[in-house]
Amino acid sequence: MDFHSDKISLNDSLEAVNDWFYDQGWTDGLPIVPPTPARVEKLLAWTDRDPQDELGAVPPKYGIATIEKLAVNAVMAGCLPEYFPVVIATLEALLEEKFNLYAVQSTTHPCAPLVILNGPIARELGVNARYNAFGQGWRPNATIGRAIRFVLLNVGGGVPGVLDRATQGQPAKYSYCLAENEAENPWTPLHVERGFAADASTVTVCGAEGPHNINDHVSTAAAGILTTIASTMAGMGSNNAYAFGEPILALGPEHAAILARDGISKEDIRAYVFAHARVPRPLWEAGGMFGMGIAEDLFRNEAAVPLIRKPEHLMIIVAGGPGRHSCWMPTFGAMTRSVTRAIALKSGTPVKSVQEFRC
């Protein structure tokens, strides 16, 4: 295969290769899988696109994301070849204008692209949606998000402290990828809410903080769980408290089951959060981002200010395994919007299995 990337010869040892890649600033600090031509070719067999097809320019350096460059970075991240269609669809989603990747990459805020998978391909690839879904232990969760981070670093130029200006960053900048637990979602899954067929496979990206735990161990009815959710979210420290946007609520299946059993819909949860996850105005005006001219005029006549401009802006998924925990992810605010895309052939035709990409 005729690659356009530079070919580099190094001593044939894992240590030498890793030292060299680290010294170039091309890694996340962890060891990489050396992107040999043979390994890159294996990934390229799982797409119907040409290696030199361009997905777009990745800010803030605006390097061109070719399929070949994506494959190199996905090999480095440890992706299995069959994960590659997900990496491609995720980058396409990140490059949609409304995601505002420039801002997400270069801000001082600790946001990272959260990748949520829905549909049969998530199950086919074994993307974890249950126990420890946001944590370690599953190869697709760990490596798909890591591949995206490497593309943002090596194609987009998001070097920490240089063009990635995150003041503190967060651990999710290593990888931030999970599947929705559709099997235990008593309502409609995220992709169906967004107009996709239940058997479509999608990626949804959000510019999000890490998960903030919502622990309600004692409530046996919806009212208590909703109270705990709203109380946890109602603080001054998130961008959403001043710049709104689409924060994400990830309900653990046990919390979701209690809410659904008591007749609570997703719309009801959104209405409750809109009404009750609020910061009292005097407190709201005492710090945070007050006075920066973002949205001070909204809710001017309200005694307390919500985290979302409209109830429908709260994203809700079900994630995790047994236990009494949910979590929420504040986002960068309205400066970024979530994007959902189907995992599809180059023609735009959605696929039901990654096997359809074999060429």
Binding site: Y22, D23, Q24, G25, A57, P59, P60, K61, Y62, Y102, S106, G157, V159, P160, G161, V162, L163, R165
Partner: protein
């Protein structure tokens, strides 16, 4: 363009992408937020002369002087990081 010193390399990267690789960037000490009025005054006075020069000197001369300035700074930061 006016940037804090911390953000000048980012400003230069963005200006290059927009096809203005040589646009002058006047630099003030970071941070911008949280400054008391006397600090704002001091920072403004320190950079005033450079801003006047940017507004009055020929564009080509300025482009020549500013084109590579913050790219080198960015590269130094990368090298420093790699060395530590």
């Amino acid at each position: 363009m006016i940037c804090s010193d911390e953000f000048a390399p980012l400003g230069r990267a963005e200006s290059r992408m927009l096809g203005m690789a040589g646009i002058p960037i006047a630099v003030i000490p970071h941070p911008l937020a949280g400054n008391k009025p006397d600090e704002v005054q001091r920072k403004a006075e320190a950079v005033a002369e450079e801003i006047i020069a940017i507004l009055t000197q020929p564009a080509e001369q300025l482009a020549h002087a500013y084109r590579g300035r913050f790219l080198q700074l960015a590269q130094k930061q990368i090298n420093k990081r790699a060395a530590t």
